[in-house]
Symmetry: C2
Subunit: 704 residues, 2 copies
Amino acid sequence: MSTDPLVLFMPSGKRGHFPVGTPVLEAARSLGVYVESVCGGRATCGRCQIEVQEGRFAKHGITSANEHISAIGPKELRYAEKRELKPGRRLSCSATIEGDLVIDVPQDVQVNAQTIRKDVDTRSIERNPAVHMCYVEVEEPDMHKPLGDLDRLKAALEKDWGYKELQVDAYLLPKLQQILRKEKWGVTAAIHHGEETGRPTLIALWPGLKNEAYGIACDIGSTTIAMHLSSLLSGRTLASAGASNPQIRFGEDLMSRVSYVMMNPDGREAMTLAVREAVNNLVDKVCADGGIAREDILDAVFVGNPIMHHLFLGIDPTELGGAPFALAVSGAMHLKSSDIGLPMNPGTRVYMLPCIAGHVGADAAAATLSEGPHRQDEMMLLVDVGTNAEIVLGNRQRTVAASSPTGPAFEGAEISGGQRAAPGAIERVRIDPDTLEPKFRIIGVEQWSDEPGFAEAASRTGITGICGSAIIEVIAEMYLSGIISEDGVIDGSLAQIQEKCEAVFRPDLRKKNNARSPRITANGRTFSYLLHEGSPRIAITQNDVRAIQLAKAALYAGVKLLMDKLGIDHVDQIRFAGAFGSFIDPKYAMVLGLIPDCELENVKAVGNAAGTGARMALLNRDYRREVEETVGRIEKIETALEPKFQEHFVYAMAIPNKVDPFPKLSAAVKLPERKSDGDGSDGPADGSPRRRSREERAARRNRG
Amino acid sequence: MSTDPLVLFMPSGKRGHFPVGTPVLEAARSLGVYVESVCGGRATCGRCQIEVQEGRFAKHGITSANEHISAIGPKELRYAEKRELKPGRRLSCSATIEGDLVIDVPQDVQVNAQTIRKDVDTRSIERNPAVHMCYVEVEEPDMHKPLGDLDRLKAALEKDWGYKELQVDAYLLPKLQQILRKEKWGVTAAIHHGEETGRPTLIALWPGLKNEAYGIACDIGSTTIAMHLSSLLSGRTLASAGASNPQIRFGEDLMSRVSYVMMNPDGREAMTLAVREAVNNLVDKVCADGGIAREDILDAVFVGNPIMHHLFLGIDPTELGGAPFALAVSGAMHLKSSDIGLPMNPGTRVYMLPCIAGHVGADAAAATLSEGPHRQDEMMLLVDVGTNAEIVLGNRQRTVAASSPTGPAFEGAEISGGQRAAPGAIERVRIDPDTLEPKFRIIGVEQWSDEPGFAEAASRTGITGICGSAIIEVIAEMYLSGIISEDGVIDGSLAQIQEKCEAVFRPDLRKKNNARSPRITANGRTFSYLLHEGSPRIAITQNDVRAIQLAKAALYAGVKLLMDKLGIDHVDQIRFAGAFGSFIDPKYAMVLGLIPDCELENVKAVGNAAGTGARMALLNRDYRREVEETVGRIEKIETALEPKFQEHFVYAMAIPNKVDPFPKLSAAVKLPERKSDGDGSDGPADGSPRRRSREERAARRNRG
């Protein structure tokens, strides 16, 4: 065993023996512990700060003490005096190992007077960005060794930082001489690590020490574009901003945008310009909010669904509008920001995550990277609900993905009172199982509708409609309170005023429970449930229920196909990604049978997981390799081609499901008694949902 | 020993045994014999033609016969019928080895009806261009394997052509879908081999079979820009063109252009734009001459002296105007043509050869590549005469380089009757040693001035001045005929009309030979030699002789320093590169002592060797590695820093030289008897040339 001191780095836990006198930074690097350094050990950038954790660490057999690190030297002292070095902090480039140490690498090294406006999420992302800032002092020209300025710069970058066969962005050539001479041959180089090219590239150069570099991570959604600005040197998020996708003016949903391209000769170009302009405006906004210059953004990561991905790259998405749903590009893309009309620094690089399949995009890849089903043993289902639900299911061993054509119902389209999530929209609903009276909340108002002050508060926005999350809730609550059957039929026998009339036509209703509510009214041959009497009048019609049934059945059938593929009958974890997922109550989603049975506590909304994944790929290039490798391994299921889809779909039309038992949900929520026994033996092998409903109704009538 | 058939490829001489049935193309590839193929073995491009050489090749132990190659098959027959296959030619992708063969790989495979307008030189350059054309058939989209179009294209290029981890030019992304679908997923890809990036890159793509690709090679001289257009698939030169460098309007010589940049804020930009515009016009011209489209140019190679190199790249050349003559960039550059304002194909690549030193540019590197001192055992001196002479000396073991400040005298500047080489300029001079009467030729007229018809022919252009090559000749002839001494003094004693007057002041002249000529006339205290009485009157003055002495002494001193460095006292081969070199008669150059003693037959003008080197680097990327490696090994001598320069310079003021014996020249040309014994023992250690001449004159006077 080595008699050299033992050094343990936290939080990574990496450890090793090093000779007395080894700089801590060198020890960290040799263990692969990422500690930032721009100045290359000159004790001027202050990025390489660490802290000694004192004490006896019995588990590791280390007694760590401040005496085991060298006393502060003159260079470090100069930094501490000129800048600011918090008590206990040391510069790891200058401090040397003198005995056993436990070293903490803090994630909050902040060297400039920069204000951190917003922390996107609490997740701390281990850093290893694709762009590194490297200060070097270049040899002056020498007539005896007539190497060019650039060639001597390359030599310095190889000697001090180990970069070999460096490529150079052409735009730098005319600027080199001045930059090199301005601060007496001291320069900071931004080096992009070239996974895609195999060689590192010099992408930007500044005179003297340039001690900041930034990156943006952006999720281009069909509806919303979200962007984060992060420091590549500290990992901190300086600003976040969002904007509507201006392509909405060409079409609300994805398919109407594809149609627009097909119908209009300049449609593709117009939509590309629109989305790029919106992204450019967001760059301006995050720069203003973060107090930085656009030129200091050196790296950018973009994700989006396949159609957004293609339009952003200037690629015609028409092929994605029909079978075989051929992506023009599926692999990860490495570009310059100037290639796609995003002027930042002339050397700024752009990385786009890979798409998984024609309907499972780079956003799903990013969400996968963020939630990491492939990093764990438990079986995780990751769902991003939209016009197309993107579904990923798997664990460390195997991961599968598909999209399901849920249609726009979950987004409030095709629903009589449906609308986007906006102030005034109903977002939560409860129905009293005894009185069948509802209460609800609307976006922008704290109180429930039965609480004092609600009416006054609601008068500011009005009660304008019902948004996606509330549609889920109201239908689930209608089911729980017996207003609709497991087949989704609104029980007309509960209608108060039309009872007699109904009784004439529908003798089956007479045997139902005897609660009666004026909220249940007939619409021709079907019934609806009145949620809010006002202007507009908001009611849940039989058609609304059917639309949600179709949407949730499509989603569930997709999930089931993936479960079949993996040969599993339950999942351990469920993650809802995306804005819609953030507002869904997992309980109601499961009651409705949107998602398979699972411990409720293991169903979580993860917000903009795609944005988080983009930020991970921005801050750590290892995640780029990880997502590329993972997407390469993901097995893609094309739901339209799977013969069992139809069967799963038909069963999933029932609430929560015709055949699946949902034991964990039953343990947590009292579900109405099932009418069918759920063994699936009498399930029809095919048939459209509507046809099947008619058949079932007929069957029940016969039974009745 | 293998019992498989033995196959020998000519002209490379590479040989190997291959199993019966091996396609000839496959055998060639496995031996590293470059045989072009675009269609990848589909017998459609016709590029892979070979010929069987029949007969008994005793030296190789091969009896080669047409029966030893497979009979023409249906695919080959179809090509032969549709296109044209010359008798005896076979497609090596289809023809298989059936017995011992000697295979000739012809260098003139021509598959289109393209006219070859001009062959630049007779040199056949073995091909291995940086851009390869590769036809592939891409798999159609498949919902079960949702790889993108690009990703399937990459897979096809890896499978059929072995290209791994292919990069893609971003401009292609929006075009991919249409190109792939136009000819049913058959496309031709242009792949650039990425020495600079480590990875190959897809730079252009066409539907179907694209059976042509072109490149340009361009030498940007201070005075003239020369360009060649070559087929990358056949190696043929389709067109060549030249143009004046429009930067001349900013300054005749290099240093005046550097001054212009220093004096004018927009000077650099104006000169960059000027040279790029001229290059663009030349591209148009060679495309028109070659009958091809600009977009079909996929690769371009540029060379130039350091100042032209920098200005072309948009780099300020001011640093090159003074010590330490720092190049901004010395290594080879890999760019896109769009980086430097040369619109061709959006994917066109540009390669610039490395510069050797601050005054020894990429043109000298290209000339070195062309003439190849580093490829042979003999010691070769390569000289490119200009305002700065670029000098390379060496052999396989070791190569050194320097520049010498010859000044503009050789270009006709600083010479009283001097002018550029142009119609009407005297280009050849002979002086009758008895009568001291001259005869000459002028550019544009066949006859010598003493031949019938000269006056009439010359009246069209006039006799306008004397160009560089004739200045060398007239001064050498003046020396050979005794008009000037080895010290370069015009012998006033030969002046007819001033004899008496001279005799009074200069008793030393009385002992001279008694030829007398009215052409020798006094100018104040010195004399001149009248070459042509007319308008203008063209005479060689003592100042003219001195200017040439200074220039040639600088060149020779530079050569001597390089010889010192290598420890050699003679050279085996001398090559004059550049336009000036093409017109110099080696004999006169050596009589004057411009170049060291050498067998006259081993002194050759090689024309635009820089252009040839550029063409080599265009047609074979192995030459790029060779020139980069060679330039890396060349030892650079900065003449200004060498203490012995002055001494060599002073000796070299004499004609041919004060101390060097020139035995080979003496054997070929009757030189005047030397006045000094040439042992060098009495040579002054320093002193300016003028001062030394005065001293010598005084010494002679005393002796006299």
